[in-house]
C-alpha cells in the first residue's frame, strides 16, 4: 500500500469548509459586508440576516438608511439565549447571552434585511437608533423594560409596559415574574 494520506485528508477539507465564508446572495448584505468587514451574513430560511458588531450597531443602521434607502425600521427587539436547548450556530459569530435584533424595510427597493448584534451579559448596552428611526422609541423602551438592555442615546428610556417601580426584567429567562408566594391553608412545607 502506498503512503496512506488518510489521517491528513479530512483536515484540509474541514479547514476549507470552516474558512469558507458564504458569499451573500443578497445585494444589501454584500454592501453591508463591504462596509463593515467584521460582519457575518446568514441566510435564515430565505431571509437575509447580518450579524454585526455591537460597536457598529448605530453605524449599520445609518448606513442602511442613508446609503441603502431602508426607509423604515420595523422592529427592534432583544432575545435572551441563556436557556436555549440548542442554539442556531452561525459560523463566525461569537454567541453571547443576548441578541438585539432589528428588522429593516426598504419601500423603494421592496426588500427587507435583519440586523442582529450579540450583547454580552456583562455589558448590556447598545446604541439607540431613535435618532435615525424615531419610531423605534417605543420599541427600545419595550426592549429595555422587558429585557433590561440599555439603549444609549435614547431620549426617554423608561419603562413602558410595566409600572415604573417594577423590579427586574421579566422576559429574561432567569426572571420569574409569575412567581407569587401562595400560602395554602395547610402548607406541608418544602418537600
Amino acid at each position: 500500500m502506498p503512503d496512506d494520506p488518510m489521517p491528513d485528508d479530512p483536515m484540509p477539507d474541514d479547514d476549507a469548509t470552516l474558512d469558507e465564508v458564504p458569499a451573500p446572495s443578497d445585494e444589501v448584505a454584500a454592501a453591508v459586508l463591504a462596509r463593515f468587514p467584521g460582519s457575518v451574513f446568514h441566510d435564515s430560511h430565505g431571509q437575509p440576516v447580518m450579524y454585526v458588531d455591537r460597536a457598529s450597531w448605530h453605524d449599520v443602521a445609518a448606513f442602511l438608511r442613508d446609503d441603502q434607502r431602508f426607509t423604515q425600521c420595523m422592529d427592534v427587539t432583544v432575545v435572551d439565549h441563556s436557556h436555549d436547548a440548542t442554539r442556531l450556530q452561525v459560523a463566525g459569530v461569537g454567541p453571547e447571552r443576548f441578541e438585539v435584533v432589528a428588522n429593516f424595510l426598504s419601500h423603494p427597493r421592496n426588500r427587507r434585511i435583519r440586523v442582529i448584534s450579540e450583547v454580552p451579559e456583562s455589558d448590556t448596552t447598545v446604541a439607540s437608533i431613535t435618532d435615525l428611526y424615531p419610531g423605534m422609541n417605543f420599541a427600545e423602551r419595550e426592549a429595555y423594560d422587558l429585557m433590561g438592555v440599555t439603549f444609549e442615546g435614547h431620549p426617554d428610556l423608561t419603562r413602558i409596559l410595566l409600572p415604573d417601580d417594577w423590579e427586574g426584567h421579566p422576559l429574561r429567562k432567569d426572571d420569574f415574574p409569575a412567581r407569587v408566594p401562595v400560602t395554602f391553608k395547610e402548607d406541608p412545607g418544602p418537600r
Partner: protein
Amino acid sequence: MSEEIITSDPAANRLEAQTDEGRQVLRPGKHELVLTGGLWPDESETTIINMGPQHPSTHGVLRVMLELDGETVLRVKPVIGYLHTGMEKTAEELTYVQGATNVTRMDYVSPLSNELVWSTAVERLLDVEVPTRAVWIRMLLVELNRIASHLLFQATNGMDIGALSMMIYGWREREQVLRLLEMFTGLRMNNNFIRPGGVAADLPDGWEAATLEVCELVERGVREYSELLTQNPIWMERLIGVGVITTEQALALSITGPILRSTGFPWDLRKAQPYLAYDEVDFDIVYTQNGDCYDRFLIRLNEIHESVKIVRQCVERMPLGDYRVQDAKITPPPRARIDESMEALIHHFKLFTEGFKVPAGETYCAVESPRGEIGCYLVSDGTGKPARMHIRGPSFYNLQSAGPMAEGSLIADTVAIISSVDPILGEVDR
C-alpha cells in the same frame, strides 16, 4: 427650559427648543422634521391633564397625557401598559400548537391576522408548505376579519365623534360577519382556527351561500354609512384637516397600514410582498393624499369594499383539496382513526401535550393586518416551545403618531385623532 427660549420670539427658536428634549430629528437630507410640535410654552401657563385610562374614547385602557395651553394641545404622551399581561412570556411556556390560542388574544379585533402571522412563522421554521385550499381558506377568513375590524372602526369612530347612530349600525353589520366567522370557526372572536400546518377544519356545508349573503349585507351597510357620513357637512367639518400627518413623519415613526396609506403612500404588504394567494386575486390598494382623520375614515370605509371583492373571489375560486398539511408530525390524525387505532390515539395525545419540535432557527414574518404590518419574530431552540416570540404589533407603533397628529390641535380633536389611529390596546400592551 432655558429662559431665552421663553422670552425670545418662540417661532424663531422653534426647532431648537424642540430638539432640546431629545434628538427627534427625522430623515436624512433635504428637510428635517421635528416630531414634538407646537411652541414651547411658559411652564406656568400650561396644564398637564390625563385623558384616560378610563376615558370612553380611549378604546380600552389607553392613557394620554396632554400638556395644554388653554384648550390647545402642546404635547401628547401616550402612556400604555394597563393591559400588559406578558403574552410574549406566556408564549415561551406554550407549545407551538397552543401558541395560536395565545397570539389570537393580542389584537382581539382581528385575531385571525395574529394567528396567520404566527402560523406563517412556525411554518417557515419547519419548512412546511401549506396546501392550496388551506391558503385560500386563510385568505377568506383574514379578509372577513378585516371587514369585521373596519366595521368596528366605523362604529367606534362614529361614536367618538358624536355620530352615535353609527355605533349601532357598525356593530350591526360587524355582528353578521362575526356570525359567519362563528359558523366557520366555532367562535366569534379569538378563533384559534388558523394553526401551524393549515386551518383547524374544513369549511362547513353551505358556506358559499352564507358568505355571499353576508357580503351583500356588508355592502348595503357600507353604502348606508357612506350616505350617512361621507358628504355629511358636520362630519366633514369635524374631520377634514384634523390630525394631519405627512408621509415622512409616518415612515420615520414606523407607521404602517391605513395611516401610512392616508398620506399618499400606497404601501400594502398584500400587493408589495404578496403572501397567501393575494397575487392571484384582483383588488386595489386604497390610498388618499391628505393624511387627516377624514382620509383615514375614507380608507377604512373603502377597504371594506376591496375585502368584499376578495371574499367573493374566494367563494368563486376556492380550490379543492386538503385544508391542512398531511404531515403526521404536525397534523393530528383524523378523528375516526383515534377510535380504532392505539397509535393514532398516542399520536394525538403526544401532539397536544408535547407538541411538535421545531428545528433551531429564527425568522420574521409579516402580514398586513387591518391596522398595518403585524410581524412575528420567532426564535426556536429545537424544543417543542419557542425560545422567544415577539409580535410587532402595528397599533404599538401607530400609537406614536398621536403625538405629531394631535400637537397644536384642540382637546376635542384629540378624541377624533386617537379614534382615527384605531389602536387596539390588547395588541399595544400584549
